[in-house]
């Protein structure tokens, strides 16, 4: 490719990305607005929370436990060099509450529930179900999209909390049961190190922000999918990629700007 061709391609890509970002912003505002309008679709919201939250419980809890175990092993090896084994609970707890809990939960949920959400909406596009709703004067944003997006926003901080709890149990299992540390020391170092207002609330805020990200990205990719089978698969794949990358980037900015 010639240099002018490369610059031209880069320009076209940038314009496309900016246009897509604009459309995403308009879509997100419309979904937020649709969620505010009556009727309150509680039944649909509960069904979606079940799909997004309850069905993600197993992978979130198992992953949290495994991550806690690994953290305890690595932490023990490092801390023991400095004679600071007693701080194992604090290291495991802080790492999970401030960073790993919200971020890894977001990545896991984007892969399981986010991709399923995008694929489901994209399939509704392909099979004209959304057009069917429009022909009944029922707004698909209100009936289909908003309950899914809000279910994700509500589920994410709760799942993140469970991830952290199971991670702390996993750390306890390795640090205390396997490596023979003192259980009281593990818990008291955790209790001393963790500030509710700074650490726990910060983690919950991150979880909520990631819920907004994954929920809106998944519904947007599904809603704007090309009406073909390849379009459905592209919607699911791009949801996982975009939501995961966005989670990591936004996490950096939240940490850098607000110190959470």
């Amino acid at each position: 490719m010639s240099p002018t061709g490369a610059v031209s391609a880069l320009g076209a890509w940038t314009l496309g990305a900016v246009r897509d970002l604009g459309r995403f912003s308009v879509f997100s505002a419309a979904v937020a607005n649709a969620g505010r309008r009556p009727p309150l679709r509680l039944r649909r919201l509960v069904d979606e929370i079940y799909d997004t939250g309850v069905l993600s419980l197993l992978i979130v809890c198992v992953s949290g436990f495994a991550v806690g175990m690994v953290l305890a092993l690595q932490g023990h090896n490092t801390l023991s060099r400095f004679g600071a084994d007693a701080q194992l609970g604090a290291v495991v707890g802080l790492a999970l509450i401030r960073e790993l809990g919200p971020v890894l939960t977001s990545l896991l949920v984007a892969g399981r529930a986010g991709s399923a959400m995008a694929a489901e909406i994209a399939t509704m596009v392909v099979t004209e179900q959304l057009d069917g709703l429009r022909m009944m004067s029922v707004d698909p944003l209100d009936f289909v999209v908003a309950p899914k997006a809000f279910a994700m926003i509500l589920s994410m901080p709760l799942l993140s909390t469970l991830f952290v709890l199971f991670g702390i149990f996993g750390g306890y299992a390795i640090g205390v049961v396997v490596l023979g540390g003192d259980g009281g020391t593990y818990m008291s170092s955790l209790e001393d190190a963790v500030e509710f207002s700074e650490d726990v609330l910060g983690g919950l805020v991150k979880g909520t922000v990631f819920g907004v990200l994954v929920g809106f990205v998944a519904t947007y990719r599904g809603f704007t999918a090309t009406p073909t089978s390849a379009g459905v698969s592209a919607a699911a794949t791009s949801t996982v990629v975009i939501a995961s990358v966005a989670t990591l980037i936004v996490d950096y900015f939240i940490t850098a700007l607000w110190g959470v």
Binding site: T127, D131, G132, R134, M135, M136, S137
Partner: protein, 281 residues
Amino acid sequence: MESERQQAPRECSPAPGQRAREAGEPAASPAQIEARGLAYARGGRAIFRDVSCRFPRGRISVVAAASGGGKTTLLRMIACLIRPDRGEIHVDGAGELVRMSDAEVRAFRRRVGMLFQFGALLDTLSVYENVALPLREHSRLSEVEIAAEVRRVFEAVGLEGVDDLLPGELSGGMVKRAGLARALIERPDILLCDEPFSGLDPPTVRRVEDLLLRVNERVGATMIITSHHTESTLRIADHLVMLLEGEAVEGAPLELVHGGDERVVDFFREPEAAPRGVGAR
């Protein structure tokens, strides 16, 4: 048209258009929907160059064209699901569709029922919930009254014992009937049917034809049906709109089919080849 009806004798009542002609009334009736100068292109291909046509009130109009000829596109324009690049669509009592605001489009759609080619039923809701949905969304009827309305349309389309089934558990013909029931639940005065005969076996095609004629008779709605099924078109159409190379030719079905336009005659020509194997010996 009478001879067309005679070609396919049926038990159900004749359509309004046929009745009008049998009574010696003029075939033309006021247009409820009129498209003027529609142009539409996608991917560098002009689907419509200059399409103008009309759909008479209370009659069954069939839009025929070869595959990819723009039948569904025209239907979706009338449903305001896509907008033409140029042109106007006037609907009696609603105004000009192309320049309507979103709120006006929503109000217009309350008057329109649409049967999609593959039903477009919500696959996570049961058949009953699908059909009841428009009433639950737009009316203040009690559940008992909604159930009575659903029974009415189920009876009209000949569906029974499917209330709790999901759309994925229905046969192709039943999906069409369930989709039609949903389209009829709010008593529309315009009914759009996208390829209602496609993918159906011949006996089911006949049943769907009867059903559409019966619905037209009972409800009196203006019906616009897209089809490339020539036999069904000739059996049920009061008015025929043929889309040819981005333009429209329209008129009474028999006049068009036996008229001077070679392209229309060619489209409706019956296959002359004998079935494979016949005469081989």
